[in-house]
Symmetry: C2
Subunit: 322 residues, 2 copies
DNA sequence: CCCGGTTTGGCAAGCGCTTGCCATATCGGT
DNA sequence: ACCGATATGGCAAGCGCTTGCCAAACCGGG
């Protein structure tokens, strides 16, 4: 039983004694209609409980009131937090969010962009691995905000990747470590490349690249031991968990014998044993900024880049060198 | 530049030498059109790269090719996995998924259902806390599949909550424990109530209820110690992490002095120290089943309930009683 | 060959909204 | 009072698609 009580523009118009077109203007073109009339219309809108039909609106005008978020892995809390934040912000603007999981595969990424684009006002693409040009083409003209990826003349919000490395290495050095290793992430990631460059500049040893997973970290332990490192900074928290696991399996005490520092500061990083020292990736701030940036793009502003500063979160997986 | 001038039904019709209405039928009413003509139309569709305009389709016919998933917390990997699985299945059916995070609050839950409903074919609502009647009303006639919540005459897929408790308690008893405590979840959750009932029936002590968070578990440690329990089964993995954390803080060795068993089997449960024994909530299976069930509802089938059996995942946070 | 029944495909009426184009009202200035 | 500029709101043409209705074509049996 479909009780389609959905009031239409015409209902509102009739009740307010104006033309439907006028109602439409009141709702979408502030200032275009006389204040007095507008008030009358608004009253009618409230009275009949009018809710615009998005499909009709999109058909006629092109506006969808929807945004898409594409993440490499929704199961990773870092991205889940971004999605959550975007969703929260979108709700405030009466927009809804479509999400797609690309499984870090360029083809999935592109097909997601391509199939979602026609039905959203804009997209937020997180840590894309596909070439930015192909993404843009797949988006069919819809504005895009990239997260943790930069490019020529594109809107983006990203954590300062150089600072991530600097902050971690500084922390470790201040603890007296000088046998420090930085773990490389998959080279398909822009962030991984940025960090690698900085590590090189800092003259810090690099391990990997390994896949940014638990197993990736686990597999690293031999290399760490063999290299005689006393501290290691991983690509992300999950990888750090792997290192922690590997250390535990080998009976290596953390932080006494090995200091481990992650990246992202996902909620779980505070729940491990020992709690993980990590560099906060500010997921919520990033998510919020991405949505705001998309909003400004939609408003016609030129592409901008927002850089957010990472912050050290010192917990118990790092300690003074023994 | 933009060769995406989106071919329309008319373009296809012209190219195939038929009426637009016929093309529409070929695309949406299998068998309604002569096979020969249909083939010609399909060829034309492929030739011009036709992609149906969802907005127009929804306006005219009501079908949206979209489903909504509402979760209490997308940041919890259990739900993230469900969303991921739904998204995966939806992609195969060329549907997209809208997600909303209700923050476990009934009002948010209802407003999400209400605002999403008009623009989706159906909804999957996970662990709702609101009264099912109000949810149904908010959905304005759209079919709903509930996850981990049962109700009279509604479609649902849920883990057998009784079995979750049974399986955990059996595991613990087989290890020799007889001072076992089961942690209650928030009574707003159907699953929490079901488990509580079973625990009572099994004659097992219950602790809490506590919020299903790390802090909730952390706070439990005193009660556990004071109660002299040698084993505790928590409401979910995150709560178990809290208990693990509390135990570590008090110098209580797990599993030697205390066995801890979680529930959900989120990926992180394998990454803790010690790795957490848990009852698998089969997120992916649940997500998949929910989407399939929604599909059958959409096809006109009557509401059905799918029960999935939980499975023990024995790891290292449980051991024989000392 | 004829006839009623069944396919098949054309036709056009919308679905609810936005927006360019106009006609009319309004208004300040002279 | 008169005039042009400007603010206001009506009008209707679609946006791309689905679908009920109907006519033409087709089928098999008598």
């Amino acid at each position: 039983m479909t009780n389609r009580d959905t009031a239409t523009l015409d209902d509102v118009a009739r009740r307010a004694g104006v033309h439907p077109g006028t109602v439409s203007r009141v709702l979408t073109r502030p200032g275009r209609v006389n204040e007095k009339t507008a008030a009358r219309v608004q009253a009618a809108v409230a009275a009949v409980g009018y809710r615009p039909n998005l499909a009709a609106r999109q058909l006629a005008g092109g506006k969808t009131s929807r945004v898409a978020v594409i993440v490499p892995d929704i199961t990773n809390p870092y991205f889940a937090e971004i999605v959550q934040e975007v969703q929260l912000g979108a709700r405030q603007r009466s927009e809804s969010v479509l999400v797609a999981d690309s499984r870090q595969a360029a083809p999935d990424e592109l097909s997601a962009v391509e199939s979602l684009s026609p039905n959203v006002d804009g997209l937020i693409v997180c840590s894309p691995v596909a070439a930015l040009g192909t993404v843009r083409d797949a988006a069919d003209g819809r504005p895009i905000v990239y997260v943790n990826r930069r490019g020529r003349n594109v809107a983006a919000v990203h954590v300062d990747q150089g600072a991530v490395v600097t902050v971690a290495v500084d922390h470790l050095r201040s603890l007296g470590h000088d046998r420090i290793a930085v773990v490389r992430g998959p080279s398909a990631f822009w962030s991984a490349e940025q960090r690698s460059r900085l590590a090189r500049k800092l003259g810090v040893a690099q391990l990997g690249p390994v896949s940014p997973t638990y197993d990736g970290g686990l597999a690293l332990i031999d290399e760490i031991v063999d290299g005689g490192f006393t501290a290691v900074a991983t690509f992300n928290d999950v990888t750090a968990f792997g290192v922690l696991g590997g250390a535990a399996a080998r009976g290596i005490r953390v932080p006494d014998e090995l200091s481990v520092i992650g990246s992202d500061n996902i909620p779980f990083s505070a729940m491990t044993n020992p709690p993980l020292t990590t560099v906060d990736g500010c997921a919520r701030r990033v998510g919020r900024a991405a949505l705001d940036l998309l909003g400004s793009l939609l408003a016609g502003d030129p592409p901008r880049v927002v850089v957010v500063d990472p912050a050290m979160v010192a917990r118990s997986s790092t300690g003074i060198v023994s």
